[in-house]
């Protein structure tokens, strides 16, 4: 019986050695070690042996079985690595076929800009608020140091509503700037204030660079000991966060009725690095002498603080605000030659954002 076992072992090991793939190997394993295999039937013959012999042969059979199992594992390993090695040829697909995209939508570029602006100022503690778009003259002009017939009002190209005037608050208008929200914020009397008002605003202008509806954002900080240096700090922070860490701002004197002093803010040009000259020596076409006009800012006029019930001897207020569209285009470096496309909802435009 031992001889039979040895002979069988020889055959099985050979079969294992010649198995050409994993399926063959599995078949060899089942045929030779399974329930109906020769090995099994040999084992059934163990019962007819003496105790001594049975012990002896049984141990041998176990050893042989172990040996075969080891050989099978080894062969399996060889076959697997051969198969993995051949994957590049045998299991190859065309990797240049286009992907199947998940359906994704688009956020309007103005929404994207608003989200960024909001996030930047929220780090400095400015909380976003909302104030009316259809507004009283009182908040749009009167309390902003622009009394009744002031010619400065002309600059705002205001839309008026076909509605009766309010005895106290005057005519109903579409707010031409987010500063009306600041006037309302002051009136709440909840000091100190760090407000960010982002809203639709309206002016009677429509051409390639104006839409009658547009968006502004306005920051207002009211506190004791607030000064022009803080305004510079906040604006520099914004420029670096929004446009990039190497961008700078500068303040130039300007005039608004509601701020004193008033500024225009420039940001250094990202194309020429603020030099006004390109590497090839040409003048930069994007900017004026290295600077791009960003918007207006200033320290609220004492009359504005008074109108909002804030004592200008005790508090100061820094404020800044300008158009979201312009800011967005300055960052994106996209020059939209006719900005009316922003509100025409042409899918060929919206698709790009």
């Amino acid at each position: 019986m031992k001889e039979q076992l040895f002979e069988l072992k020889g055959r099985i090991l050979e079969a294992v050695a010649v198995a050409g793939n994993l399926d063959d190997l599995e078949r060899v394993e089942t045929e030779n070690l399974g329930r109906k295999s020769e090995f099994s039937s040999l084992m059934k013959g163990l019962g007819g042996l003496s105790d001594e012999e049975r012990k002896d042969v049984g141990r041998l059979a176990n050893e042989i079985k172990q040996e075969i199992a080891g050989a099978v594992e080894k062969r399996k390993g060889e076959l697997k690595s051969a198969a993995y090695g051949a994957l590049a040829e045998n299991d190859r697909i065309d990797v240049t076929v286009p992907g199947m995209k998940p359906v994704i939508g688009h956020l309007h570029p103005v929404t994207q800009a608003i989200r960024e602006v909001e996030a930047i100022f929220s780090k400095l503690g400015f909380t976003r608020v909302r104030h009316p778009e259809v507004e009283w003259d009182r908040y749009a002009f009167e309390s902003l140091n622009m009394p009744g017939d002031h010619p400065a009002r002309d600059e705002w190209e205001t839309f008026f509503m076909d509605a009766p005037a309010h005895k106290e608050f005057g005519k109903m208008v579409l707010t031409p700037h987010t500063t009306s929200g600041s006037a309302r914020e002051l009136e709440k009397g909840d000091l100190p204030i760090r407000m960010m008002n982002i809203s639709k605003t309206y002016r009677r202008q429509m051409d390639v660079s104006h839409t009658p509806m547009f968006h502004q954002f306005e920051g207002l900080l009211v506190d004791r000991n607030v000064s022009v240096t803080h305004l510079k700090g906040v604006l520099d922070h914004f420029a670096r966060e929004y446009f990039g860490p190497d961008r700078r701002t500068r303040l130039r004197p300007y005039h608004f009725r509601f701020t004193e002093p008033s500024f225009e803010i420039d940001v250094s040009c990202g194309i020429c690095g603020g030099s006004g000259r390109l590497e090839n020596g040409d003048n930069c076409r994007l900017c004026k002498e290295g600077w791009l006009e960003l918007g207006g800012a200033g320290m609220f006029h004492p009359n504005v603080l008074k109108a909002g019930g804030v004592d200008p001897e005790d508090y100061n207020a820094l404020a800044f605000g300008w158009g979201v569209e312009r800011t967005m285009m300055m960052k994106a470096g996209i020059s939209i030659d006719d900005i009316r496309v922003l509100y025409r909802s042409d899918f060929r435009f919206l698709n790009q954002f």
Binding site: V103, I104, G105, H106, L107, H108, V110, R115, G125, R128, V129, R130, E133, V134, D149, P151, D154, F159, F160, M161, D162, A163, P164, A165, H166, K167, M172, D190, P192, Y202, R204, T211, P212, M213, L221, D223, N225, S227, V228, T229, H230, K232, G233, D236, H237, L251, R252, P253, H255, E260, P261, S262, E264, K288, E289, N316, Y343, S345, L350, N351
Partner: protein, 807 residues
């Protein structure tokens, strides 16, 4: 408002030496914005003044001659065809490299030495049109430009000879500073900002010689509130003609066309001092008098721009004894204007009420350099300097002689304006320490009178500052002094500091948060965000079945397209679909914006945040409704709100009566979802089919979110079965679902995955196919148990709906 200013002109009033670029850069950071610079000399490079020494004939051409021309360092033989050549004449000589326009036509070309009909010519004697000066120096076509009047040596660079070694700045002046809207005003700013001397001195009015008999004249101001000062003087012996080059040149650089010497003088003074002036032909005035009065209703005047205006009593005019001769502060009349025949004039230098001038130019739609300045408010004290300067120039360039006293009707007495100035308040505003002496120096350099007060207030310095007359309007309080100090000190010299102090704790408006969240949600879900105008036309409202009568209306819309504020985002979406459906046969869009609901009387409209969602596709697309409803349900789930739907009323107008539902949170209807009425869709010219939803985000946000609770993960696996059954067409799935849940306690989840109709099922019937999931919390369900549940379910479905299992 912008002004074009010659640097040479400005330099007459300020001792500045810096290069133009340097001035532009420094002044822009502290004062008026120097936006652009235009150097004037480049077109005249390689051009010099030459004097013709000798004229020789050309050996090969009759019409050409050879001019031996002195150009300073040498003499050149220049071939020239000019018919007016004469010996001793000064001419423009263009040397090699100069850019000229041959015969004043075509492109500029670079001049090279050449041979003209066999004679070498190293340079060219130019006609005015060949160097771009044709308008300033008119002469006939075959002549050359005669420079004999010019007192410079041969060889002088042409740009220097013609005062074109200059730079013109385009400067933005803010509207509160009409005092800077002039050469003198800009010079004053430069002096203060760059720390150099301001050298302008008011001209002294030349008085009438004692020997002259004054011409009869009179001035009467009937409206002293609207005309606060009127000065006038009569000039005799005027010789009208073109202005000399220096005067023309400066007007030209400022963008003003020269007319004749008298008119040019008024414009020159306007630019130099900032005070508008006018000159009347004295002999055309009826009654030799000026009356400043209101126009009569219907009174007409023919103006210098050839228009005729009908006036009314709101308009202030200048009149003689009989008729209107000018619209005050806006424009003069044709009849009394200065012409070639004029020999006697009246100069007017006056101050008009800014509001009156503004209303007048607006109502007549005539804006002029005069009205632009008057409407900003000019000081009465300015008229004297302007009148004196005009008289001086008139004597110089038009042979004028003073022929009357200076008439001066002034209703507002000069008044000193003073404010206190506390340096420590200025420091607090600016944010750094600045020595008080520095502040005082800055204020003084701008013309403010500064006196230190002997009284010491709380131990701090205290000044009394007197405002100069030209700043009387824009300086309104102590705060203005701080701005003056800060800007001249230089904003660039201030540090950049992040604010410290207490961070106010404020809740973010939940509506704003919800808007942002919804935008991100629907964008992620594949919808494209639109931002449409808040405005809407009457026609669009009516098409979408909204009553314009109850909508918020504009009084002065830009066009009919923008007449109302939209009460809904739907009409905008409809027109967007009609614009895009051609290129995009299907689409998914959304918008989150305010809508406007009118209130009665003097009350602001309500502004409510609204959310619109829409999918559109070809007519055969049956999935639209389920797509929109699915997106909406997913959003409500995301926002932890549970909503109910209920069919719209059959006359919902905008909505398809069989395919739309109102959306409820509890008992509150917050919006509607469904297909739009085919009639509405058609009225927008749309071919595709649209399903939309619009709901009020403001109300939605106020509703209570369902509390999120954790449900333990089941210990035993669910058993899933699919069930397909046929019911009549009018059986709604919600009812079926209710029965399914009601008829088995073990049913855990029902998901409809197919609705199917075909001939075998039969007309008026449909098949629902659903995944059912059964679950027991305490044991694994056996197949037989589930079979029993299915039997129970089918029993109920059959009983309630006559449903049959589909094999």
């Amino acid at each position: 408002m912008n002004i074009l200013a010659s640097y040479n002109w400005i330099k007459e009033f300020v001792s500045v030496k810096a290069a133009p670029d340097e001035v532009a850069r420094r002044v822009s950071l502290s004062g008026p914005g120097f936006e652009r610079s235009f150097p004037q000399s480049p077109p005249f490079e390689n051009m010099v003044v030459g004097r013709i020494e000798e004229i020789k004939s050309h050996p090969n051409a009759d019409k050409l001659r050879i001019a031996v021309t002195d150009i300073g360092e040498k003499k050149l033989d220049i071939v020239c065809g000019g018919s007016n050549l004469s010996e001793g004449m000064k001419v423009v000589v263009a040397l090699a490299g100069a850019m000229v326009r041959w015969h004043g036509e075509g492109d500029l070309v670079e001049l090279q030495p050449a041979e003209v009909r066999g004679v070498k010519s190293e340079a060219m004697i130019c006609a005015a049109s060949e160097i771009g000066l044709g308008e300033a120096f008119p002469h006939s076509a075959n002549e050359i430009m005669d420079l004999s009047w010019c007192k410079v040596k041969p060889g002088t660079r042409l740009a220097k000879a013609l005062d074109l070694d200059d730079t013109v700045f385009d400067i933005e002046i803010t509207t509160n500073r009409p005092d800077s809207f002039s050469m003198v005003g800009i010079a004053r700013e430069i002096a203060a900002i760059m720390g150099v001397d301001f050298t302008w001195k008011e001209t002294v009015t030349p008085s009438m010689p004692k020997s002259t008999d004054p011409l009869p004249f009179g001035v009467k101001v009937e409206e002293p509130k609207l005309c606060t000062r009127y000065q006038a003087v009569v000039m005799d012996g005027i010789e009208i003609g073109p202005s000399p080059w220096w005067l023309k040149n400066r007007l030209h650089m400022a963008g003003i066309r020269p007319i004749n010497n008298v008119v040019d003088i008024t414009n020159y003074v306007l630019l130099e001092i900032g005070q508008p002036m006018h000159a009347f032909d004295y002999d055309k005035l009826k009654g030799a008098a000026i009356v400043v009065r209101r126009a009569k209703d219907g009174e007409e005047i023919a103006l210098l721009d050839d228009s005729t205006q009908k006036l009314d009593k709101e308009r202030l005019i200048i009149a003689d004894k009989e008729r209107a001769i000018a619209i005050a502060g806006v424009m003069g009349g044709e009849d009394t204007g200065v012409t070639e025949k004029t020999t006697r004039i009246v100069f007017e230098s006056a101050t008009f009420d800014p509001v009156s001038v503004r209303r007048t130019w607006r109502s007549l739609n005539i804006q002029t350099d005069s009205s632009l300045r008057f409407e900003k408010g000019l000081p009465e004290d300015l008229t004297q300097a302007a009148l004196a300067r005009a008289v001086e120039l008139c004597q110089k360039v038009a042979c004028g002689k003073v022929a009357s006293k200076v008439y001066d009707e002034r209703s507002v007495r000069p008044k000193k304006i003073r404010f206190a100035f506390r340096p420590e308040r200025a420091e607090a505003l600016i944010g750094i320490k600045i020595p008080a002496s520095r502040m005082v120096k800055i204020l003084k350099s701008l013309g403010f009178g500064v006196t230190k007060k002997p009284t010491i207030k709380r131990g701090k310095a205290f000044y009394d500052v007197e405002v100069p007359y030209w700043r009387a309007r824009d300086i309104e309080s102590e705060r203005d002094f701080a701005e003056e100090v800060a800007r001249v000190y230089g904003y660039a010299n201030l540090p950049s500091v992040l604010p410290d102090g207490v961070l106010p704790v404020r809740m973010v408006d939940p509506v704003l948060m919800a808007e942002d969240d919804a935008k991100r949600f629907f964008c992620s879900a594949g919808f494209m965000e639109m931002v449409n105008y808040s405005f809407i036309s009457r026609q669009m409202l009516e098409r979408a079945k909204f009553d314009p009568g109850i909508c918020v209306k504009l009084e002065n819309p830009l066009t009919g397209d923008f007449e109302f504020m939209r009460p809904s985002l739907l009409p905008g979406m409809l027109s967007v679909v009609s614009e895009n459906e051609g290129l995009f046969p299907q689409g998914d869009v959304f918008e989150v914006s305010n809508i406007y609901i009118a209130n009665e009387g003097a009350e602001l409209p309500e502004e409510r945040a609204s959310l619109l969602l829409a999918s559109y596709g070809p007519q055969g697309d049956d999935t639209l409704f389920r797509r929109v409803k699915g997106a909406l349900d997913a959003y409500f789930g995301h926002a932890s709100r549970s909503v109910d739907y209920s069919r719209v009323s059959p006359n919902a107008g905008l909505w398809h009566p069989g395919r739309a539902v109102d959306i409820y949170i509890g008992d509150t209807a917050i919006g509607t979802m469904g297909e739009l009425h085919p009639a509405v869709v058609e009225s927008f010219g749309i071919d595709v089919r649209i399903c939309a939803a619009e709901f009020d985000l403001t109300v939605f946000v106020k509703s209570e979110a369902e509390s999120r609770s954790y449900e333990p993960i089941p210990q035993f696996p669910p058993v899933r079965r699919d069930l397909a059954f046929v019911v009549a067409e009018d059986v709604e799935f919600a009812k079926v679902e209710e029965v399914l849940h009601g008829s088995s306690e073990l049913i855990h989840d029902v998901t409809l995955f197919d609705v199917y109709r075909d001939d075998r099922i039969g007309a008026g019937m449909k098949s629902f196919a659903a995944h059912l999931s059964f679950q027991h919390s305490e044991c694994t369900l056996k197949a037989e148990e589930v079979d029993k549940e299915i039997e129970k379910i089918m029993g109920s479905l059959e009983k309630d709906f006559g449903a049959k299992v589909r094999g």
